[in-house]
Subunit: 310 residues, 3 copies
Amino acid sequence: MTTAPSALPLTFSAEVAKARESGAAIVALESTIITHGMPYPQNLEVARQVEQDIRDAGAVPATIAVIRGALHIGLDDDQLSDLAQAKDVAKLSRADMAVCIASGGTGATTVAATMIAANLAGIEVFATGGIGGVHKGAEESFDISADLMELAQTPVTVIAAGAKAILDVPKTLEVLETQGVPVITVGQDSFPAFWSAGSELQSPLRLDDAGAIAKAHRTRAAMGLPGGQLVANPIPADEEIPAAELAPIIAQAQSEADAQGVHGKGVTPFLLQRIFELTEGRSLTANIALVRNNARLGAKIAANLVNLPR
Amino acid sequence: MTTAPSALPLTFSAEVAKARESGAAIVALESTIITHGMPYPQNLEVARQVEQDIRDAGAVPATIAVIRGALHIGLDDDQLSDLAQAKDVAKLSRADMAVCIASGGTGATTVAATMIAANLAGIEVFATGGIGGVHKGAEESFDISADLMELAQTPVTVIAAGAKAILDVPKTLEVLETQGVPVITVGQDSFPAFWSAGSELQSPLRLDDAGAIAKAHRTRAAMGLPGGQLVANPIPADEEIPAAELAPIIAQAQSEADAQGVHGKGVTPFLLQRIFELTEGRSLTANIALVRNNARLGAKIAANLVNLPR
Amino acid sequence: MTTAPSALPLTFSAEVAKARESGAAIVALESTIITHGMPYPQNLEVARQVEQDIRDAGAVPATIAVIRGALHIGLDDDQLSDLAQAKDVAKLSRADMAVCIASGGTGATTVAATMIAANLAGIEVFATGGIGGVHKGAEESFDISADLMELAQTPVTVIAAGAKAILDVPKTLEVLETQGVPVITVGQDSFPAFWSAGSELQSPLRLDDAGAIAKAHRTRAAMGLPGGQLVANPIPADEEIPAAELAPIIAQAQSEADAQGVHGKGVTPFLLQRIFELTEGRSLTANIALVRNNARLGAKIAANLVNLPR
Ligand SMILES: [Mn+2]
Ligand SMILES: [Mn+2]
Ligand SMILES: [Mn+2]
């Protein structure tokens, strides 16, 4: 599926513009990890590092954000640095991205919004940490991330280390199956659990090399199927927090949230902060490691796609 | 996004045909409010009044209905009058509209069906009372209005006073977020509650003028996003039934429904009738006021769209 | 809606290729009923019989499967025979079909995958036994078949004897309504219950002849609605197992599954096997009868479509 040229003006960084001209491999990156994932200056250091990982693996990074109403595909270092220090930046998804652009606002892109932007720019691969999913208690709250519906409809291959382990992962896999999203785990049979490499959940699909994933992406497009693929890339074994060790910590954080009456949009930040504290910072170290690992795999998949005819 | 010409023959009223030729602003209106919302002749009076409100605000009304197998975009006064007196008219949604047309039937259009028809006719704005949503108890019944999915996929901006307060509004907002639908409240931060201007629920987005809403609509289309926007327009303060006053009435109606074993498709009409009785008709007066208020805002948004390039 | 030529190479059987050239009526058939529905050689005999039923009714059968990476539209007798004896064949749905093709694998197509393939081949009608739906307990498990979402988005008319009665049929009908899928029962007002002709559930729509169903299909396409139609065709009265007789058997099978801790993907095969045993094979006889009945109706609808302009 060739992408129609975007009717919305896009602002390309010099590096991405050049890559587009030469037909080089490009990997999209989201920006909420910068604005909402870590404190300054660590967020800026990690953002630069992940971009460099992509370059080292032979592709060009395109960090995506909305800045004063312009949809940026690729940020230069000044823009990255400004975004890393900005306050009160909106967190954009499919529902609010157009309003932010139309209003001249600034916002960081979640998985859903980054997929939309990547697709507008003709970028087929996007590396992130973990996708959103079905929240625990969603059978009562109906709280389900728009990321899942985006995977069902926008033709971008998303590399993640699974869904964050604080979510209801079995229900997340069910929704992905219902919505027809390929869930492809790399190098193992079990679906990875973000900070932990493995889980007790079987992955629906397994492919072990970037070439096979690229070929599946192209086949899906040739079939006219509108959606993307979720590539579940386990955190490297020497950087994981084993599931057996993490499970009681997640459970403790969850019961603290319940006890303190934390609910709605407050739950995820609360849990992530408590897991950070209870693991003495290891959850953040693991998070950085898995994002970098995903960026490297994304670069390989993008490089393979360059060699496959559309 | 320019709309492809409809392959289905559409029947335009003289007034709408003329507006299309001259490029005038057009606002779609649904017809279930006529056939299922009020008794004759009040339904006809209100339908005429709402059409006139749109004309007074500088746009052309296009009431939509299926009459003997023809999809009408705009009704003349005889057709409006006939429809207002017709018996056993079907209530059409996405699932049954084509069968009705193919079978030569007559049907009134719900929010979903009106959006489909408006889009076929190239009309970008539609004013109604309240959208359908997630029904109370949907965690067990799975009873969720097709209106929500329509907002996710059909590029029409729908002006409503929120979702009817007898629905599970928090779950309705969750589904809209999951499906990527912009929910834009006008002039206040809280999401309106149909008969009441405010609620305890925060609106996901807020825009205070018709021009900004029109611009967001066009931006969304330029991004290739297929869906529409829900514009939540609070009932004017002097015509509302305050939430504190209405809440116990809704609760009473609900417990009467439970006690009498009313279920399924019978619940909504039962609740609306009991609320009408318990408010001594004020619920209907408020309903008319909010529809007219939405029609006026719709006309302003449509007028703004005329001046924005596609 | 005319279908764009598929960018994926399709492999047509000689019979289907000839039918395409001459513009003859074609009916798609799924292949999981062959690989996962019955033991060899009964599965082969039934597959041949159903194909012949379609020919006898004036159309051409196109059994669909992925064989060593090729998407086959129509199988010759050797291929049918090989598939009927193959071991460990994947069961393909929207999520995994492209991976199977890209990897050179072999797989049988479920309802969702068969709809996708039929649409790629320009085939508008597909006959099967029963569609997947909402599983019992889905309010907790979120286990909902991708078939329902496929009906919402792929323009193929699917003839089935309802949804398998081991599913939560009321919730299945709710999801179909939310997703805007026409559910059209033939010849009666109640929605059929697979092995039983009737049920206590009202069908949303009713059309009694193949011509009206074909016309509704074309009208839906002319309206630009992307999805298909579910045609619920009751099992012939003299071949049904009456609902009153079957209900306690299904309940017994279900409580045995619960007692033995069967869960997840194991439940459906367990229930079908126990129902087969408890009915002393009558469930299979009924299943074959209803598939043949659906094939004959599919042929009539396809023949009607040939005579309706696109
Ligand atoms: Mn949410
Ligand atoms: Mn409903
Ligand atoms: Mn399932």
